[in-house]
Amino acid sequence: MTAQERRDAKTGYLALSPWMAGFLVFYAFPILATLYFSFTQWTLVDRPVWIGLDNYIRMFTRDPLFVSSLKATTLFVALSLPLKLVLGLMLALLLNLKMPGMNVFRTVFFIPAVISGVAVSLMWIWFLQPDTGVVNTLLSYVGVQGPYWFWDLHWALPSVAIMSIWKVGGAAIIYLAGLQNIPAHLYEAAEIDGASKWRRFWRITLPLLTPTLFFQLIIELIDAFKIFTEAFVITKGGPLKATYFFLYYFYEEAFRNFNMGYASALALFLLVVIMSCTVFVYRTSGRWVYYEN
């Protein structure tokens, strides 16, 4: 190593030191500690008691709530994720058209994505009221009796999914950034070769957008698994646990019932599920994600 290289390395490590400290405190320690706690029985006030695999045995063999919350979460992911990805792309393609006034639409569609959380949940409770809500009123004009939405056993979960699709502008804006990175000369060349619009989309836009799609898929996947606030504010997990999502179950076990040991096992399980999905997507990415160079 030359003196210059040594100096570079020193500056580099120094620059990274805040992140490294943060990694130890906010990632390494919590994950290892959660792993340890998951083998204990612990209520936060006493000392953790080692009980081996008992938490996991309970989780996998005799916990109906574990099964139902996992089912609800999986269903939510399966409903909302593909719709959000496809509709987000369609919206981005529209917004990417070179027409005057598009930035106004861009602003409008992105608004739902920035006001997520409690405010959106409250707005939607009111919006989807069975009797006096806007949606059911409009449906009644065309002679359709609207469902009870959040208050119906079968409609509650789809309602939460619909609400999350309302935020599709967030996905669209990321796609839009990706679309604007595609060099214009590719389209010009394709146009000279007489390629149709449809063909240009499949042969240029989509392949060059796959890195963005990949990024988006992972981010949205993790996000969908973490669904919590909406259920907490709107349905309280009901009706009949229809929207009792996994993270909600974890929250109640940990911070309502103070079963920290069991909650740690739940938390770790969700981490493993999310990581496996991510790794799976990552593994397949070589086959469908296209990188230039």
Binding site: E5, D8, A9, T11, G12, Y13, A15, L16, P18, W19, G22, F23, V25, F26, Y27, P30, I31, A33, T34, F37, L91, L94, M99, G101, R106, T107, V108, I111, I115, S116, G117, V118, A119, S121, L122, M123, I125, W126, F127, T132, V134, T137, W166, I174, A177, N181, I222, K226, T229, V233, L247, A254, F255, A263, L268, L270, L271, I274, T278, N293
Partner: protein, 300 residues
């Protein structure tokens, strides 16, 4: 295109044909535009409907809110509802709390993220690539896994029911921002660094005089996203805060929903007011957002 008198008749007719087909293309194009606009406008109206309904409800009289058929626009807008909402719920207090959290988190991000990203983007050292991958992989670690150990830790340190648990992490760099900023710095030509170095600037001088001023778009993303995330955050405040008076607006609203769930006219007004700061920040920053986010697509 001009027609010159000395041109051959064949060339003239080709020119005429070209002009005609160009005109046809223009008509098709215009029709396409009208269709796209019609589609976009109806979609936009549909998307804004929940917000419109919230605004409309916030201006109604109590007896109007459950009326059927509902009134789309209240006949006599009750602007006094807002004063009543502010008088009844400590909204101003909650929004101030949120503002404090937002500002502290933004400061944390602006202090830490550029330094860390600069290290990744501009210096060569052993294990850099491995550390970068490790940093990226933490982006995929869901936040819930930290809650129990950190709650335990904060309790030991006596920090539960203070703002520290909600502020401290920002000072150690959010991995998404670090990634974004690293990618952005890589797009800044190194010639500029070299020029500054010749002028006698050290590594940190280059960061503060060249890199940070040129990273405006990426820093805007840091500021805006931090604002939105912290303002909307719900799970961490309900875990780490106990005292009602210290609640941010998100928790405050949810809390009132449980207690006053019939006063929807006041409630929708409060919700609307709670999202205004986010909308204002978004409107001012959106021009820079796309440029800042575009760097994600560049392969690292």
């Amino acid at each position: 295109m001009r027609t010159e008198p000395e041109q051959a008749p064949a060339a003239l007719s080709i020119q005429r044909q070209l002009r005609r087909s160009a005109a046809r293309r223009r008509v098709i194009r215009a029709m396409g535009h009208v269709l796209v606009y019609a589609l976009m406008i109806s979609l936009a109206l549909l998307f804004m409907l929940p917000i419109f309904w919230m605004a409309s409800t916030s201006l109604k009289m109590p007896r109007e809110i459950f009326a059927w058929p509902p009134e789309w626009i209240p006949s006599e807008p009750q602007w006094g509802n807002y004063a009543e909402a502010f008088g009844k719920y400590p909204l101003a207090r909650y929004m101030l709390n949120s503002a404090i959290l937002v500002i502290a988190n933004i400061i944390g991000g602006l202090v830490s993220v550029p330094i860390i990203a600069y290290g990744f983007a501009r210096f060569e050292f052993p294990f850099k690539h491995a550390l970068f991958l490790l940093m990226l992989s933490t982006m995929m670690v869901p936040g819930h896994i930290k809650l129990i150990p950190l709650f335990w830790l904060y309790q030991k340190l006596g920090l539960v029911d203070t703002y520290w648990p909600l502020i401290l992490p920002a000072f150690f760099g959010n991995p998404f921002f670090i990634f974004l900023m690293t990618q952005f710095i890589r797009t800044i030509p190194r010639d500029l660094d070299d020029a500054a170095r010749i002028d006698g600037a050290g590594a940190w001088g280059i960061l503060y005089r060249i890199i940070i001023p040129l990273s405006r778009p990426a820093l805007t993303v840091v500021v805006v996203f931090t604002f939105v995330w912290v303002w909307n955050d719900f799970l961490e405040p309900i875990i780490f805060l106990r005292d009602w008076n210290s609640y941010p607006i998100s928790v405050g609203l949810a809390f009132f929903q449980g207690r006053y769930s019939v006063e929807w006219h006041l409630f929708m007004g409060a919700t609307l007011v709670s999202i205004i700061p986010i909308l204002v920040v978004y409107f001012f920053a959106q021009r820079h957002l796309i440029g800042g986010l575009a760097s994600i697509g560049i392969k690292g």
